[in-house]
């Protein structure tokens, strides 16, 4: 289903289904941020590692780490949050390693994305779905 931002908002929150629809809007915001970071350049997959739990133990503080050897910058996005931008880590030429770890708040189940600007100026992306669940009922 394709819905413009305006149509999605117009549908409102009157039903259960409608609350699921604004996703494309948020994904757009994440895509906008990626475009701004890469300047529209092609994005590969090799050279960046994103480590995040499959299921969040606490959606309010989810440990996430990124690693991209030789990178000059790594942008971290929570694509399903109202404001997807989490952080952009910049590494100077004297940096001993290009690692960063932080904790982020996730509003709901979503993809967390890391995009690194590598030493050769190209970009690489890694993503991981982090599930935010109500829990209980375990084996």
């Amino acid at each position: 289903m394709k819905l413009s931002r305006r149509e999605a908002i117009a549908l409102g929150f009157g039903s259960v289904a409608a609350t699921l629809l604004p996703m494309p809007v948020l994904a757009d915001a994440a895509e906008d941020a990626i475009s701004a970071f890469t300047g529209g350049a092609a994005v590969g997959t090799a050279g960046v590692t994103l480590t995040a739990p499959e299921i969040a133990e606490n959606g309010n503080t989810v440990p996430v780490s990124v690693n991209a050897p030789g990178a000059s910058a790594i942008m971290l996005l929570a694509t399903g949050n109202p404001t997807p931008a989490v952080a952009t880590f910049k590494f100077g030429p004297a940096a001993g390693s290009q690692n960063a770890a932080t904790r982020i708040r996730l509003a709901k189940t979503q993809k967390v994305v890391a995009i690194a600007k590598l030493a050769d100026g190209t970009f690489a992306q890694a993503e991981s779905t982090v599930k935010v669940t109500i829990g209980g009922c375990g084996g």
């Binding site: 499959e54 133990e57 109500i134 209980g136 009922c137 375990g138 084996g139």
Partner: protein, 563 residues
């Protein structure tokens, strides 16, 4: 799952091809129509190292009835593969004889009738006999406990796991990992761990604040001149599936990259055989075996599957040893030149009427139970129906529990957790207080009563269904579907979260559940701190006393499609 023929021909290391399981022995047993202890234990010694695995005992010291699942749906790549094969399909896949001892032990069909022929299974005094016999034949063996050991009975609850600790120490466990152990709370776990004569392993247990390893990740053994590393993997979804407020200091998770690091570390230290003692659940382990390089054997646990042959993933063998003391796995391994060259395996069924109890262990068990004997044995009612739980959806125990919860707490809808533990009670038997506890015992058994909107009920069903039917095993928590009473629904397991559940109906009136309307809901095992209400075992006891004789009608309120 590879075919039986491929399996037997499969090469673990290219130079030596030898893999054999104990299934052939079972088939002979069936043919002879006789069971003896010698036959159950018969094993042609092989190689130079032996692993003995037992897991998910759930504090069952005594022999039990335990009906295996009828419905155990696999999704994604696990579809149609063990352990997602049940009943006649299972009998066929593993070339068993219908109605044979092994069919009774491993499947659900004709359970009540076959139980009369073959008797109860398990009992840790019988397990002790088997362990002693294996050790006598193979002094270079390692006994490993996969966890879910300290929880699941009235005596374990009343002693905070101490009865099981004493018994397992007597059995001579050499390392364990954990899950329900944590529901006694951090303080109690640490108190026990300090006294254990063996390590409490968990490579994936981290300090929650600093995200640093908090428990021993592995133990190095030297057996038969072979360096063996046993890496522990605790239940990954501890703070999500169980109440995290009971162990707030710790974080868990699958942490696949950590497992790879540990495998590399033990190999660097000279380990010639790498064993993962896991409480991941079978499908998670099957994926992890493919993702992490260098594990020779995964001793699986958590999902309570008993599979008579090892499942091979690449060069890793997965062993599934069942639950509740019904089985012990013996795995003989030939390790040479730093490599696993071959294996021989037997899933040993603990037929309690065939295996002689170990007298010393029987005395320890009786001693643990003695102070509680009168409470345990009190008969609360009787049942005309077979009471069981295991399966993806409501079992008869769950129907009885949901009836009790709705009736005693005056609610329209009941919810009961889809845990995989809880032995069976046979038709015509008395229901004792011990039976009630075996199906409900836990440290957070309060029965809450609240109001929920139709939308909230739908969200809960969708959420739990996704923990079970997500096609990526790493998102599966290993419980079964939440059980419901007073509510009917349809579920299409092939859909994604948000689209599986439909046709929710209030059974009392037949009307559709309204997303915006509120309903009274009662349930137990809430993971929220401060939940108030009577304990579930008291609620159930009160209900059974009132009705006297339990008779469970067939339940058709959940319609499953997409399997």
């Amino acid at each position: 799952m590879i075919s039986r023929r491929e399996f037997l021909q499969a090469s673990v290391a290219a130079s030596a091809i030898l893999g054999a399981s104990g299934i052939g022995n079972w088939s002979r047993l069936a043919a002879q129509q006789v069971l003896t202890q010698d036959q159950l234990l018969q094993f042609d010694d092989f190689g130079n190292v032996t692993l003995i695995h037992i897991t998910d005992i759930h504090a069952q010291l005594k022999p039990i009835w335990f009906r295996e699942p009828e419905i155990n749906i696999g999704v994604g790549e696990a579809r149609g593969k063990p352990p997602h094969v049940t009943g006649a399909d299972f009998v066929k896949m593993f070339n068993l004889q219908p109605a044979s001892p092994e069919a009774y032990a491993l499947t659900y069909e004709d359970f009540a009738a076959l139980g009369k022929t073959y008797g109860k299974m398990g009992g840790l005094d019988r397990v002790a006999t088997v362990v002693k016999a294996i050790r006598a034949a193979r002094p270079d063996s390692i006994l490993l406990d996969g966890g879910d050991t300290w929880h699941g009975s009235m005596t374990s609850l009343l002693t905070k796991g101490q009865d099981m600790v004493n018994v397992m120490n007597k059995l001579g466990v050499e390392a364990m990992t954990s899950h329900w152990e944590w529901t006694y709370g951090t303080q109690r776990v640490k108190e026990i761990v300090d006294t254990l004569p063996f390590p409490f392993l968990g490579a994936n247990i981290f300090d929650a604040e600093w995200d640093e390893p908090a428990f021993d990740p592995y133990k190095m053994f030297e057996k038969g001149g072979v360096k063996v590393a046993v890496i522990g993997q605790a239940f990954p979804y501890m703070p999500i599936a169980n109440p995290k407020w009971m162990f707030p200091e710790y974080s868990f998770g699958i942490r696949q990259e950590r497992m790879q690091e540990m495998v590399d570390e033990v190999r660097a230290k000279g380990a010639e055989l790498v064993v993962c003692l896991s409480h991941n659940g079978f499908d998670v382990d099957r994926k992890m075996a493919a993702q992490v390089q260098g594990i020779d054997v995964i001793l699986t646990g958590h999902t309570h599957d008993a599979i008579p042959e090892p499942v091979l993933v690449g060069q890793t063998i997965l062993i599934a040893s069942g639950s509740n003391g019904k089985f012990v796995s013996r795995v003989d391994l030939d390790v040479r030149d730093g490599k696993m060259m071959g294996f021989r395996h037997k899933l040993i069924p603990i037929f309690s009427d065939v295996i002689t109890p170990d007298a010393e262990m029987a005395a320890v068990i009786d001693g643990e139970r003695e102070p509680f004997k009168a409470q345990l044995e009190e008969e609360i009612g009787t049942t005309e129906s077979l009471l069981y739980r295991r399966g993806n959806f409501n079992g008869t125990w769950d129907d009885l529990i949901c009836d009790a919860v709705r009736s005693e707490r005056d609610a329209q809808i009941a919810m009961s957790p889809g845990v995989r533990w809880g032995p069976s009670v046979m038709p015509g038997e008395a229901i004792t207080r011990e039976d009630i506890h075996n199906a409900t015992s836990m440290t957070y058994g309060q029965v809450y009563r609240t109001e929920m909107t139709g939308e909230t009920i739908n969200t809960i069903l969708e959420d739990v269904a996704d923990n079970l039917f997500n096609t990526d095993p790493y998102y599966q928590q290993g419980g079964d579907m939440v059980r419901v009473g007073g509510l009917g629904y349809h579920i299409d397991v092939s859909q994604k979260i948000g689209a599986r559940i439909s046709n929710m109906t209030l059974l009392a009136t037949g009307e559709a559940i309204d997303a915006s309307k509120s309903y009274t809901v009662a349930g137990w095992a809430s993971v929220n701190e401060g939940t108030e209400g009577p304990q579930i075992w008291d609620v159930l006891e009160s209900h059974i006393r009132k009705i006297g004789t339990v008779k469970i009608e067939p339940n058709t309120s959940v319609v499953v499609t997409g399997a």
